[in-house]
């Protein structure tokens, strides 16, 4: 039976060869790293999507010019979120299955993040949620392939309440005028529950949720003027926020109540001339072209300059989110390469490297927690007109640390915020005033 042994040997050699080839393939550097990016190129949310894409273009071009990630260049493939959830889902799957894309930066819309996260986990796609805010994605399920390199809605809203109570501790009434969709409703729920926990005597006098994309807020403004609440929360963005600010400003409402506008940073340059001093404002994290700690960093200065040359406007928070996600991805790959003995990592290894990753965009350093949530400090400030800019800047800025306001791993935000203790307000934060 000599020939049987011969065949056996040949077969074993072949198996070993094939295995080696496979191993070799797994570790071989690809010619380029294909990265799928979803962003709004159409529809009302393109006010975020387009500045986000501009930042992606700048960052990826810059990284590629310096040799990419360990010599591998990033090849972006953009998908439009404006087509809606079902359209985006099929595009996402197609990008994965037909084009072989296994790294995605998705998405802007919270609804899209909620829909894409389980798909990413299922298809083993490393998915970095680069802009969406809903805390539910990472609280309702645990993922191995889904990460968020920035804050979430809870962090942003709890920080808003803390800053409000720090700067204006004595007020009795509050009202809300938010867009009628998930973010408008959820952000108010977190804000009002936190406020009740920290200052139980506050009375809610009106809860107004005008239609998403409303073109006229006259009735809401009249009612708020009649009620005269001490504080009004408005978490709107884009055209809705611009319209509200123009109409409310003209009618004097912005001066008669203290406004809290957590996304105002993204509208400031467009409607700045209508914004009075004293509006509490932020940009979903510590994203700000006049960031008190990083505004003179050469890399940040160069980015702002490039961005202005490309778009004619100052970068806004989605642009910084884009920057962060690319930097986080690059950092994770570099960490994984190091852990892999200098060899190109598999997707699993790259995803594992995301956990506990520490990186720095153009703000304070960020750490990604074990549940995939980024711990990002929140920058809040008060609008102030200055001669250097044709729109207001932020003054009396404070950083609310992420550790203080982030829901602990395993807990859910809606319950957690009700248990926040007023002790939290005793913490002192450094105040940064605007400087040239």
């Amino acid at each position: 039976m000599k020939w049987v042994r011969k065949i056996g040997i040949v077969a074993s050699v072949m198996v070993v060869l094939v295995l080696c080839a496979q191993l070799g393939l797994a570790q071989e550097k690809p010619a380029e790293l294909k990265v799928g990016i979803t962003t709004y190129l159409t529809g009302p949310a393109s006010v975020f999507g387009v500045p986000g894409k501009a930042a992606f273009d700048i960052m990826i071009e810059e990284i590629n010019a310096k040799g990419g990630i360990d010599g591998v260049k990033i090849a972006p493939f953009f998908m439009d979120e404006g087509v809606g959830t079902s359209g985006l889902l099929s595009e996402y799957r197609r990008a994965n299955q037909e084009m072989g894309i296994r790294v995605m930066l998705a998405a802007i819309s919270s609804g899209h993040c909620l829909a894409l996260a389980p798909v990413a986990e299922d298809l083993k796609i490393l998915n970095v949620m680069w802009d969406c805010s809903t805390e539910r994605v990472l609280e309702d399920a645990r993922y191995n392939y889904v990460f968020r390199p920035q804050a979430n809605a809870t962090i942003e809203m709890v920080a808003a309440v803390i800053y409000l109570l720090k700067t204006k501790p004595d007020f009795k009434t509050v009202a809300v005028v938010n867009q009628d969709y998930a973010w408008g409703r959820d952000s108010w729920e977190i804000f009002s529950n936190t406020l009740k926990a920290l200052k139980p005597d506050v009375k809610v006098v009106a809860e107004l949720f005008p239609k998403f994309g409303a073109s006229d807020f006259s009735a809401e403004i009249s009612r708020l003027q009649a009620l005269k609440p001490d504080v009004i929360l408005n978490t709107s963005w884009g055209g809705d926020l611009d319209t509200f600010i123009r109409q409310a400003s003209q009618r004097g409402l912005l001066k008669s109540s203290t406004f809290v506008m957590p996304l105002l940073e993204s509208s400031m340059e467009r409607v700045g001339d209508a914004i009075p001093d004293g509006v509490i404002a932020a940009g979903r994290g510590d994203h700000y072209f006049l960031h008190p700690e990083t505004k003179n960093d050469p890399a940040h200065v160069a980015f702002v300059k490039k961005f202005r040359e490309k778009t004619g406007a100052y970068p806004i928070y989605p642009s910084y989110h884009a920057v962060q996600s690319v930097i986080a991805l690059k950092a994770a790959y570099e960490k994984a390469i190091k852990a892999n003995g200098g060899k190109w990592p598999t997707i699993e290894q790259a995803a594992a490297a995301m956990n506990g990753l520490e990186f720095k965009g153009f703000g304070r350093p960020i750490k990604i927690r074990e549940d995939g949530q980024g711990m990002e400090d929140q920058l809040y400030g008060i609008t102030k007109k200055v001669p250097e800019y044709p729109f207001p800047v932020l003054d009396k800025m404070m950083f609310i640390p992420a550790e203080l306001v982030t829901t602990p791993v395993g807990k859910k935000s809606p319950e957690y915020v009700k248990t926040i203790s007023p002790e939290i307000l005793k913490k002192e934060f450094k105040t940064y005033n605007y400087t040239k």
């Binding site: 190129l41 159409t42 529809g43 009302p44 393109s46 006010v47 999507g49 387009v50 009628d180 009106a206 809860e207 107004l208 949720f209 005008p210 239609k211 994309g213 073109s215 006229d216 006259s218 009735a219 809401e220 009249s222 009612r223 003027q225 009649a226 884009g238 055209g239 809705d240 611009d242 319209t243 123009r246 109409q247 003209q250 009618r251 004097g252 409402l253 467009r270 409607v271 209508a274 406007a313």
Partner: protein, 301 residues
Amino acid sequence: MTTEMFILATLDGLSAAALLFMVALGLTLIFGVMGILNVAHGSLYAIGGYVAATLGLAIDKFGLSPALYLPALFLAAILIGPLLGGILEVGLLRRILGKDHVLQLLVTFAAFMILEDVQRLVWGTQPYFVSNVMTQFGNTDILGITYTNYQMIVIPVVAALAYYGLRYFLTKTWLGREVIAMTFHREVATAMGVNAKLVSLLTFVIGAGLGTLGGALASPSTALLPGVGADMIVQSFAVIAIAGLGQLGGAALAACLIGLSRSFAVYLMPELAVLTPYIIMVLVLLVRPEGLFAATSMRRI
């Protein structure tokens, strides 16, 4: 609800209704004559707004007199309405007259989407806002509430003028009567010597002009960005569905109904404010499927 609130809600409601009415008026006029529900009307609204905003910016840029702000709004509507309306009518709507309604809807919807992309190409995706007219007209205090004169007086006055102007034209002029004749029966009117092509074109241009005027007048108080046209077409469709397709006076009443119900809802039940136009529409259509004011139509064999 106190008397004060009642007055405030009425003022807000009427002001909102005025703008909505103007856009719906154009839509319903076109339907009356051509029998086509023109979805691209939303684009005319949006582009009218964008052009007005562009003119407003140009006035500031070249340091022209602020007295030109208001005339610039009308200029924008007069420039773009007939131009775009003419192109649409000759190039598109004229060719689908009398075709299946579904096809007509699809064709005008396609035109709407193409024009939406044209807007993006020309004006980009960032919101446009030129509020200098609104600032110029100043404010009035009513019961301790500050109102803008622009929204409270200028827009309703223009809307009323548009309505009475159109009524005068339709009932008192020869051409207007030809338009009315066309709405009753196109073939008979043609047989009687009405130049159907010309009358169609004229109606469409007037209707388009009302759409662009609505956009131009809205531009000082609202942000222009991708999607504004879609929002307006949905609302004005609700107006004309409530009124009955082709009913001019009915559209005025329906617009008031929607505007007032929304502003009262903001005071009484804010949760319903978003829904009110559609609740009214459903209730009306349940009882009168042709709309409140639709004339009983003769069955044609």
